[in-house]
Amino acid sequence: MARVDVEDVVKSYDTADAVTITGRPLRPPALNHVTLSIEDGETVCVVGPSGCGKSTLLKVVAGLETPDSGRVLYDGEDVTGVRPQERGVGMVFQDYALYPSMRGKSNLAYYFQVHRRSDEEAKRRTREVAEIMGVGFDSLLGRIPTSLSGGEQQRVAIGRCIVRDPSLFLMDEPISNLDAKLRESTRVEIKKLLRRFGITTLYVTHDQQEAVFMGDRIAVMRDGRIVQVGTFDELYYDPANLYVARFIGSPPMTILPARVEARRVTVEGQGWDLPDDVADMLPSGEVRVGVRPEGWALDSADGVRIPLRHVERIPTERASFLYGELAGASVAIAAPLDYPETESVQATPDWGRACYFSAEGEDTLRAPGALELF
């Protein structure tokens, strides 16, 4: 169990590592003054597009990379210069990284071998892990990694991670290499494990849905910086900027160019009155309005006509999504499952629940804030 604090960490990669044929591009630091704290027993998911530095952050926390400046604290203790093996972390990798020439159980016993622990201890722990990992795990242990499927390899890798009782789990896109069906079940399995152990976890992924499923809190990264950290609701209803608003939510938020004047908003020549609390906060002039799929009133009298491209029906959510285009922006609208197929739809954004961003830059002018459900 541990609380982890990352304090103002900067990490640049050696430019010699990044030599290309045309020369050495000056790259921004992989981590640019990153500060993040993970509470004891909490799971924090780091999401962001590839190359945003999320894996580097994980490696810095693991101790595989040393930060150029800044500190990493475990339970308030500075471990910045401590080698990874002394930190007691367990790591799971995207490509499983099982030792290729060893059977499953040797993979699990590797740690005990390295640390010259007794065979009995290794065996006892392996047995315990097999019980935790559940049905069929035993049969995987006698096999060579290459003869296992991706999902089976990842189960062994997770087993190898928990066999030595780490105080911190670090997961680097553990299920991205699995096919969709297996991803689903492995996701549930990992979640169950995290629940059961209550171990502090840093979970890196590029898939926001995975992050929502796994994480108590989510950190959104871009270009080596953490843009926003918060629960899903905070990110969804109160995005720090346009980037987070676009990144979180599926289908993504519709971003419409609009004009605010005299407490009215105009989109493509059609105008609406703004609610008072919104109008108070918005300056006059060009803005961008972000509307979530569920933030539309369908077939409203004052609606704008939106031509539709296609309709996607999702029975499990008792909903369908209407995809179309308005003012040059892609629009996604949530509708009832039995909504009829039409060429176009008349819809009004719920102006009170929309996000408003400045026309230039990405600043949030107004966000609706989390829904008060109770």
Binding site: A62, P84, Q85, A97, R103, Y111, S149, L182
Partner: protein, 327 residues
């Protein structure tokens, strides 16, 4: 509808690379076309591969004279070669040379490649360029003949003027000659490059996983680098074995087999025999060499497998049987 377990099974078999469905049979026309495509290669192989091999067997059983009728003389040439002390010496020289060249140009580059991977990228790239230099083997051999020269060679100068040793005979010493013949290969030998390419293909995460678990430098090499390099090492070892047992040019150019036959390899002796027009003896010797190399390769293939994960060879089977008990 397929049950989930069936779907899983299919996914697994695809993942492992087994094909459940047999490849469609080629139609007659297609089969003809494929033979047409193969024809040039087959002709070449028959003409310059199999024909000389079989012809050598045939010739070695005759007196192989240009003039007069060719007579079948049975195994006379083989007996003569068996009794020839120079043949025994030539095999001994070849064994020494092959042993040296496997240690120096096969084993050393593995170690160097592994260590180089730990060096700064810049040093690594320079070494790769050095290994990749497209050197003509004859030209560099000629150059080394000069370097080894006992009167005015560079090495002699280094030995006497820099290291203050007594004058070294280099190629003129029967004990040193084979080492110096192998030495150029240590500096310029392709396998190093191949090993480094293989090492670079190992995902970084393997090492990171081992590091998190506390593995040190040597353990990482032993449990990750070497197992992953094993198929390549195995293949390169066969090449090294075959190549070094047939070495000829360097001895021919640098020493001519001297001093006193101390560097006269089997192929060089075979070449000498051809010079004396003893074709039957030469081919018989060639057949002996062929059998020895073949035997080495077979022994090697039986005891070592290419694929570290597939227990196919004897040792692999033994290991897997043994591994069942270990836990």
């Amino acid at each position: 509808m397929a049950s989930e377990s069936e779907v899983r099974a299919v996914q697994e078999s695809v993942a492992v690379g087994r094909t459940a469905v047999a490849a469609p049979r080629l139609s007659g026309r297609r089969r003809l076309e494929s033979w047409l495509f193969l024809l040039p290669a087959v002709l070449f192989q028959l003409n310059w591969g199999w024909y000389p091999l079989l012809a050598a067997f045939a010739i070695s059983l005759t007196n192989a004279q240009f003039r007069g009728p060719v007579q079948f003389i049975g195994l006379d040439s083989y007996v003569r070669m068996w009794d020839d002390p120079l043949v025994a010496q030539a095999f001994k020289v070849t064994a020494i040379y092959a042993g040296l060249s496997i240690v120096l140009t096969f084993l050393v580059p593995i170690i160097v490649a592994i260590l180089l991977m730990e060096m700064p990228r810049r040093a690594m790239r320079w070494m790769m360029i050095l290994w990749f230099l497209p050197l003509s083997s004859i030209a560099s051999t000629m150059l080394f003949r000069y370097l080894y020269n006992a009167q005015y060679g560079l090495f002699e100068w280094v030995a006497t003027q820099v290291l203050h040793l007594p004058p070294q005979p280099f190629l003129n010493s029967s004990t040193q000659v084979n080492f110096w013949l192998v030495f150029p290969g240590l500096l310029f030998f392709g396998p190093g490059l191949i090993y480094m390419a293989t090492l670079q293909g190992i995902p970084q995460s393997y090492y990171e996983a081992a590091e998190v678990e506390g593995a040190g430098f040597w353990r990482k090499i032993w449990t990750i680098s070497l197992p992953r390099m094993r198929p390549i090492i195995s293949m390169m070892l066969i090449f090294a074995l075959i190549d070094s047992s047939q070495s000829f040019e360097q001895q021919q150019i640098m020493t001519g087999g001297g001093p006193g036959g101390a560097s006269r390899t089997v192929v060089l002796y075979l070449y000498d025999l051809l010079q004396y027009l003893r074709y039957n003896d030469a081919t018989a010797l060639g057949v002996y060499l062929f059998l020895v190399v073949m035997a080495l390769v077979v022994i090697y293939r039986v005891f070592f497998t290419d694929d570290p994960d597939a227990p196919q060879g004897r040792l692999g089977k033994l290991r897997s049987r043994h591994g069942g008990g270990e836990s």
